[in-house]
């Protein structure tokens, strides 16, 4: 269990670092959101599950799985709302978009 937890924590930390590099290198708010809402959630969830696995405590594992489930449900909702808000407030440039489905709603 310690080895499995260590692997989870290491892989999750690498994904968190990849999300941070993505937020620094991507050119636009929407693409930065893409890095955060996938790599960031996956990395944080992996670290939490790895810590619970390594502790060997069943209650902690149940808490971790519950927290990761909430994170997986709430993450896309928050990302969608934030993307819509940044489009409607004019914070991201629609000239960069090849398809702008929001154009008729704006």
């Amino acid at each position: 269990m310690t080895i499995a937890g260590s692997v989870f924590v290491l892989v999750g930390s690498v994904f968190c670092l990849l999300a941070a590099i993505g937020i620094l290198r991507f050119p636009d708010a929407l693409t930065r959101m893409h890095a955060v809402s996938k790599a960031g959630i996956l990395g944080a969830g992996l670290v939490v599950v790895g810590a619970a696995l390594a502790s060997g405590d069943l209650a902690a594992l149940v808490w971790a799985i519950l927290g990761v489930a909430v994170l997986l449900v709430s993450g896309p909702v928050a990302a969608h709302l934030l993307a819509r808000a940044s489009l409607r407030s004019g914070n991201s440039r629609p000239a960069q978009l090849s398809i702008d489905e929001y154009a008729r709603d704006r």
Partner: protein, 88 residues
Amino acid sequence: MIEIVSDIALALLGVAVAITLVRLVRGPTAADRIVALDLLTLLGIALIAAFAFRAGISLYVEVAAGLCAVGFVSTLAFARYLIGSARP
């Protein structure tokens, strides 16, 4: 082995926090800063869990799970603020 792994994990997460703070300061628009704050919440969850892994205290895993549950509320509030600030 736990010490080495948690040292590496905490170092990676610290570098990630530093990079995210750079984007939080530089970010040209408000949406970029909100995305950076969102990632900072996730990195805080990961840091708490990595510390729980190092110290062997499983109570901190429950703290991280609680932060998972309430972390997205701030993003929702910031997004509502962004929509509200666009209207005249």
